[in-house]
Symmetry: C2
Subunit: 432 residues, 2 copies
Amino acid sequence: VARVESVEAASGPHGAVPELSARARRAGAAYAGPGSGPAPAAGRAGALPTIAFTAGLPDAALLPAAALTGAAGAVLAEAANSALQYGGAQGWPGLREWLAGHSRDSAQVALSPEHFSLTNGSAGALANVCETFLDTGDVAGVESLSFPLSVRTIRSITPRIESIPVDAGGLDVDALEARLGELAARGDRMRLLYVIPTFHNPTGSTLTLERRRRLVELCSDYDVLIVEDDAYGELWFREEPPPSLYALAGGVGVVKIGTFSKIVAPGLRVGWCQADPATTAALVATRCDMGTSPLLMHVLDRLGREGFLDGHIARVRGVYADKCDVASRALAVHCGAWCRWEAPEGGFFIWVEAGERVDPAALAAAALDEAVSFVGGHVFAAEQAMLEGPRLSWVPGNSRSFRLAFSSVPSDEIEEGIRRLGHALKRAVGTG
Amino acid sequence: VARVESVEAASGPHGAVPELSARARRAGAAYAGPGSGPAPAAGRAGALPTIAFTAGLPDAALLPAAALTGAAGAVLAEAANSALQYGGAQGWPGLREWLAGHSRDSAQVALSPEHFSLTNGSAGALANVCETFLDTGDVAGVESLSFPLSVRTIRSITPRIESIPVDAGGLDVDALEARLGELAARGDRMRLLYVIPTFHNPTGSTLTLERRRRLVELCSDYDVLIVEDDAYGELWFREEPPPSLYALAGGVGVVKIGTFSKIVAPGLRVGWCQADPATTAALVATRCDMGTSPLLMHVLDRLGREGFLDGHIARVRGVYADKCDVASRALAVHCGAWCRWEAPEGGFFIWVEAGERVDPAALAAAALDEAVSFVGGHVFAAEQAMLEGPRLSWVPGNSRSFRLAFSSVPSDEIEEGIRRLGHALKRAVGTG
């Protein structure tokens, strides 16, 4: 997997690259997303292919190619003009109507198509929220472990990012309260807080109901806009997660961002913002993209109305629950002596913390040699991301914690991959 | 066609909408794009449906729904994983390779896939360029008549926009030189110049070769990044337009933006930036969208490699050339007494300037009554857009000039529409 080197060095009045904007410099070079480069380096020459627990991708076997083919054909036969001309910045009303009906929040709050705007994935949704409600120099809050491309989006707007600690129960609300109080005491404020409360990336944790209630209250008291990233919320294994921050807040002061990337396919690049209609209008009015593809929105709308999406989501929940079980059992068998983890209740990720005896650098080297890969925890450390600026690396690094993404590893390779991880951990202890 | 009202009034600490960012306030409310609202008001009760020369859309009859269906099916059958997972921020290399081979610039300059990045239409391309190379407070230049959504994108980044006059030969390069000199004299500079040199929107004009050469030289001398919007460049009628600014500059100091919106379908939302590889890397590194849809890129790539796109583009050139001829002849027959126009050599638009005797307000009213519509020239006036801020209206307004978009009017309705325009002009003189 490639990363883009810093382009700043090549820039300037005499270089080939025009002088970069402050935004571009803040955003910096970055990992350009899964699929942007070659596969990770192989392990030993002649070794087995690497089993990669790296990317937060859906299982390739679950990508609904046939259903998409059928829906695309039907849409192009029956609604070509609507699907192929411009569709407006808010996006196809039919799909927004389906979202309003489908959201589990509708049990608690009224939702209509006017509560939704369709975006280029949840990445596009977050960028839209930041562009609309955040200025350079404002304070934005993020969890101390978070999705680094989201932190980067926020940082592209403002360099003042406050990192709030997380634990197994999600964001530490006491710490948030203290931070908000400190900011207020010096006449400052946090304008926006970005959180992933459900099946968190990278930790897999779910914010408890009690913390959710306190978080919503605190952000209301301190006038902080909550951006609730719900990319994984539909992917619960045994039971539904607690109500969303959006629902608990009665739909006020929260923009919830969602995506079809994890439940259908990332390559559609269809996500959304869910917010009260006036806030939605502000988000739409800020956009300069002339909308994203109405063709893909029509296709998803059709799959929704045919009932395919509900069935598909139920099916993928079961598959990921099974994969998580396999991974958890394999961790207990092969890795239990050297690390701790907590099985998540949904989503794609298991967060593993290796014990003190494990040498992180030796673990990285041994994992490469054993042909197993994962993402070092340093990649998700918001503090480190802020210090290091643009440079992100998705190879195992100098971290004792790491993220195992079980979602995209074929079911019959998960145990073998974790067996290799056990070998790597054992070797990393041996060198300590 | 709807417009979004200003949302600023609803914003503030006590309103439902969080405080807007400076960028959102600069962008302001805006026309949300074609397809975002209801059709224009009807004319007389019981009258014929309006013939609308308003939107710069492809002819619905030319949207290649069947070819897209076939290509989508083949891609999803043969390359589902590549098309449906993330594809990286630069976009599917296959389509970038096709663009490099297909660009007419390749006769003058070397082009490779590394010269291209794929975006959410040319609107996404322009936003990406502005975010990467323009800061708030910088001076950006635009033509005095320009595509208002592009001017809005630029204004969302910086309020300092300089409007350079245009005439039938395109941008007035003498005026540009004077303006650049004035800026330099006070220690200031223009950082970026946005131009539509070929089959201009709205005027239909094409910048002469001599002016192109001088423009490139001036921008090189004054270190101004040229953003060349080539949305219509492929749609020449009789002969190819002069070499692009990109080609004349040897690929240095110019980002050329292109799109499949006019040659295939806007609803795909696939556009691109063409720039030297180092500049392309900077553009890609600034993006926070995790790329646009690789599925749609694969579909276009397949249509390109199968030879469909070349044939389709040749075919649509012929159709638009014929439609332009019909419109020009009809103008001569029905409107010649009251207005002037110059038939374009490509693209979608004829710019009409009514004579002094025509009362603009009366023309707007008469056109509504005659059930013909077009876009008043004030909508495209960059100076007015800067003065009026966010409010754009696409109904005929208080302008003596207007844009006739013949592209999307069914071939057999063009003459009737222009006959109605002639009636409206005649009535607008009668009241003067």
